[in-house]
Amino acid sequence: MALTKEQMLEAYGLMMRIRRFEEKCAELYAAGDIGGFLHLYIGEEAVATAAKYALREDDNIITAYRDHGVALSRGLPMNEVMAEMLGKSTGTSKGKGGSMHLADINRHFWGGWAIVGGHLPLAAGIALADQYQDRDSVTMALMGDGATNIGYFHEALNLAAVWKLPVIWVVENNQYGMGTAVTRASAVGDLAKKAEAYGMPCCVQVDGMDLLAMYETFVEGIEYVRSGEGSFLVEAMTYRYRGHSMGDPERYRPVHEVEAKKADDPIARWAAHLLEQGLAEKADLEKLDEAADQAVLDAVEFARNSPFPEPEELYTNVYV
């Protein structure tokens, strides 16, 4: 199941779209157009992008509050995602969710959830529903490194192991849970060991800045999960260039660490790979760069021109 040449190029374009979208969100947040919390995915694009190509369209994906990258990679229209950022009625959650609560049930994207670890048993349950109804879909649950310390993680993994639920757990280890380094928060530095406690196979510390490594790992994990053997855990070593959320003073890491990581940028690495392997010309990539820029401009225009929710919307959707 190797990526086709078209997919490889498309993947570059997708990562660039996510990057440019996030940069624009930072601008709009500073300008006061986006409110609340804003958690950017810049630096982690390869993980969600690899997931897109490794999963089938009828597979499920669910994540935490750093969810823009997953939403865009899953194919949610950028216009609607941007509209949600601006709290517009055309947003993916009709303006009721915001940055942390994007979702698209038709694309099997079960949402961004904002209580750390709270979505992990949901993933188990989503997978249970497929198993119960003899469907062979798998569920991918992404989480940050910080989530591996919370009770939800352990209860969800244990239940998934006991019931052999088709879940691929993905720890996006960006090395800080808010401002606390993994080494200061987790008793074991090697987070995948926590999967071993539940007899669950895992892939330890995969290079999350390497799209191909992530893709191949996901393909392997998903194949295992789809075979009915149970869950699988992947730890993706990644890094966020921006703070935990906007307004993070970043006292917990030195500037040179961030700069060093930027030199290992997943998009630049992928571009270099495509060029070296003769899979793309520079002009091809530039075209995709421009398309990403244009998509973001279009999305902002769409979002700005969209109406805010009607006052009556306050009371809709509380109950079915």
Binding site: N60, G91, T92, S93, K94, G95, K96, G97, H101, A103, D104, I105, W110, G111, W113, I115, G118, H119, L120, P121, L122, A123, A124, G125, I126, A127, L128, A129, D130, Y132, Q133, G151, Y152, E155, A156, N158, L159, V162, W163, T316, N317, V318, Y319, V320
Partner: protein, 338 residues
Amino acid sequence: MSMSSAVEADATTGESEMKTFREAISEALWEEMERDEKIFIMGEEVGVWGGTYAVTRGFYDHFGEKRVRDTPISEMAIVGAATGAAMNGLRPIAEIMTINFAFLALDAIVNAAAKAHYMFGGQFTVPLVIRTTTGGGRQLGATHSHAPEPIFAHFPGLYVIAPSTPADAKGLLKAAIRNDNPVLFVEHSTLYQTRGEVPVGDYVIPLGKSDVKRVGSDVTIVSYAKMVDISLQAADKLAKEGISAEVVDLRSLRPLDTGPVLESFKKTNRCVVVEENWALYGVGAEVAARIQEEAFDWMDAPIKRVSQADVPLPYSRDLEQSALPNPDKVVMAVKEIL
């Protein structure tokens, strides 16, 4: 005990049988599971053990382990996974052994189940029933005896149902299972052995409707679950002294149907709320607020509350009993405002 008006409005064969509250719950579950394959039960000891209150005895053998799922002791995962399964097309009935353990699942109930529909603009629905037991009086100590269901009734997005009779238990549970919203279904553990006429067959009571359990003219006693029985006993005692009490059973704490309460209050002009929860921020506080907002001109006396003493429940029998509402306390409260 006078018969619930809703019992007369059944869409069943018209027959009824004397059953315990436990049997009524069990029958509702059984019939619903026979009706719809997507309904399944998950929780601690629901399967091989047959349920810690024997409600699901025989279910495991009949429906099999796929549909009667024993879980680890893992409340966060029970409610969280049931919520996910509900979002993805199933109709889970998750059992939490006592509502006191539901605190462990509070986040899953409140932040996931109750908010999933709203937070994503209506994309997800959570047709989930969380069955749990509540209530004191059995010397189970401070961590297994409380009746904190009003806490859960605080949150929009949830239904909180608490039946008082076997017939209501059957009809309301069936409605809860068929509802597309998350429902916390609270069963008072000292009611399981109580008996009453239960309609045979497909008996469903709409959720969110209060019910007059006894008609009277001098005072309105509002209560729910086990406290309805306490209130009816008090009404019997009052009747012997020539005082006519009307007893309204809320049956549902959320949504709260104040219609029958207000209607009764406009007739009696006096109200006592009997609640097993603590008074502070409790059901009585809410009912009193609604009455003064909507029936101020009919108010002839302060609204009284008979509640659990404001302490964690002790073990020692008499001490525990002294902390709980009883018929005499209700009689006293009524006399204070007559």
